[in-house]
Symmetry: C2
Subunit: 355 residues, 2 copies
């Protein structure tokens, strides 16, 4: 049952899709970025001795890992287990995901000639993700499945730097020095991200999130000139499902990230959520508990969760999440407590439950 | 000649101190964070085969390295060559600065018992910096020398994590879980930073900068509760010179960092400088060119420098700088071009020079 776009008077199914549609449900929905991951012992067992890319390509494993946190925690949405470089590898880019480091690109892109190493993505090359999604939609029943892709800038940073970077210096140097190459590169990456998301939407995901994890490294003028149009193209291509747009350290970019075509804007923990709500043009906000709050004692954690919930009232609707991914050292019990607190909480003017 | 606090009708000496005092000079002053460093070939030659801590402890080398960028670039201020962990090492903390990594702490702080490894700083243990400053004041003549220290939070992050950290997870976990230990730790670090700055002020620096490089990892509530009072204590202890307060990714913290006792607020490149000016309560702003802009072609660089200068007009006065330290891969020629552009530029309503 697809509840987006709203058809006639049918309400969206469940709190997550309702909040995405801008209608505040009685119970605030909650899921966690990287909820399917190293914080869960059942995940670590399943991944033992298996490379990340290998795991991402096996529909049975993708399905099982995606289901694990939903089973254990009762989150209001599942997020597909994958990695933002999976479609790059499927398109033929020579890369690996190295434990403890992240994606490592064999031959970084530095000149126009290098673009031959970045062909379009054949949807058939990611058939494994479509298969996993079809299994997941059946398994999940009413729980919505969120698909995702990396945004063009963040993918470009890996391809240009050759791996994770603290400064993104080579990426920005290329952007400033070779704007034609830059826009060609981002156009190709937008095409790959969009193809990857189309495969996911057609296989049945209920929403998508575009991760522009490193966009916060840019000043607003550069974001607008060099990045936003490419992300907008990706988001425009999947307008039949709710689209979440997220990055880290994006306090000054929230209005532009909303304007790029988001239905929901993901916010990191640096910006108080009520302040963020004022920057995203009346859209639903998602976030934004500091992931390190899960390492705090229960009373501190509970206070911080409720503070985020209260601030979320400044937006039309709020999807509770962390401000970035779950840290591997997180106790799953803390994740469960957060779900419980969020689900018990009610907006002050509501009389449907405890305050 | 100390021009701070303003005495009678004497104007502050030179554009840097004038801007610090909130009076816009005709020519905008410029210096660069990490101007004395790896971008300069004469620095790399001098440091060859010599450890960072060793170099920081030799007054002759500190003097020479501090002078190098002033000679080559004609900046309006010198910044003392040192490292924020130098006073920790002088207080007896077992640490090293490892090339390519950063500070590495032999025994990280995790419990109250560990605080015995963090005694007060004996001013005599940093006599080398006083000696370097006395030599520098003579050598520099009218060019003001800026001293600096690391702020308590940033120092604490190194001590708790054991080295540089992407998430500061252990630091924040300790902060949330053991608030008494946290405040004791930050109080000791504030004492060390203040002693280090007092030595510098008494030896003759004309201004100081408090580097809270990683404060931007905190949400505003945590910054106010756990960090600001300790930084404020440090800044209050050196009120006879202008105080610059700087951190990276601090868009949401600028008002609090100003309120902690800054005369000048340093701004990273993520926040447009005119927006930053609106957040710092009428104080002078310092910044905020993206350090990667120095890797751009000359026309792009020039446009970006002038954009920063124009936005700086929103504050009473502006000290031009980068939004973070000079990247090691920077061409010194680009630094020289920036100085030239800044010095040639005039505010639009001024008729003292070219637009």
């Amino acid at each position: 049952m697809r509840a987006w776009p709203l058809v006639g008077s049918l309400p969206p199914a469940g709190p997550f899709l309702s909040a995405c549609a801008g209608t505040r449900p009685t119970v605030t929905p909650v899921w966690f970025m990287r909820q399917a991951g190293r914080a869960l012992p059942e995940y670590r067992r399943l991944r033992e001795g298996m490379g990340m890319l290998d795991a991402c390509r096996r529909p049975d494993l993708v399905t099982e890992i995606t289901l694990q946190p939903v089973r254990r925690l009762g989150t209001d949405a599942a997020i597909l287990f994958s990695d933002i470089v999976v479609p790059l590898a499927a398109a033929g880019v020579d890369l690996d995901i190295v434990a403890g480091t992240g994606p490592v690109i064999a031959e970084p892109i530095t000149s126009p000639a290098d673009l031959v190493r970045l062909p379009a993505l054949d949807p058939g090359a990611v058939a494994f993700i479509a298969e996993a999604i079809r299994m997941l939609v059946t398994e999940l029943g009413p729980v919505p499945l969120i698909g995702f892709a990396g945004a063009p800038f963040t993918l470009a940073s890996y391809l240009v730097e050759g791996g994770p970077s603290r400064t993104h210096a080579r990426t920005k140097a290329l952007m400033y020095s070779q704007p034609a190459l830059w826009h060609d590169l981002l156009d190709r990456l937008a095409g790959i991200a969009l193809t990857y998301l189309r495969v996911q939407v057609e296989a049945g995901v209920a929403a998508v999130q575009l991760f522009d994890s490193w966009a916060g490294a840019l000043c607003p003028d550069d974001y607008r000139a060099f990045v936003a149009p490419h992300s907008a193209r990706v988001l425009a291509g999947v307008s039949e499902v709710p689209r979440v747009h997220f990055g880290v350290g994006t306090g000054e970019l929230l209005a532009d990230m909303a304007g790029a075509g988001a239905d929901v804007v993901g916010v990191d923990w640096r910006v108080p959520l009520d302040a963020a709500a004022g920057r995203v043009g009346g859209r639903t906000v998602q976030g934004n508990l500091d992931p390190t709050a899960l390492l705090a004692p229960p009373d501190v954690l509970a206070r911080k969760v409720r503070d985020v919930l209260r601030r979320g009232l400044a937006a039309p609707a709020h999807v509770f999440n962390l401000g970035h991914g779950v840290l591997p050292e997180t106790d799953p019990g803390a994740l469960a407590r957060v779900v419980e607190i969020v689900h018990e909480w009610r907006a002050p003017d509501s009389d449907a439950g405890p305050p």
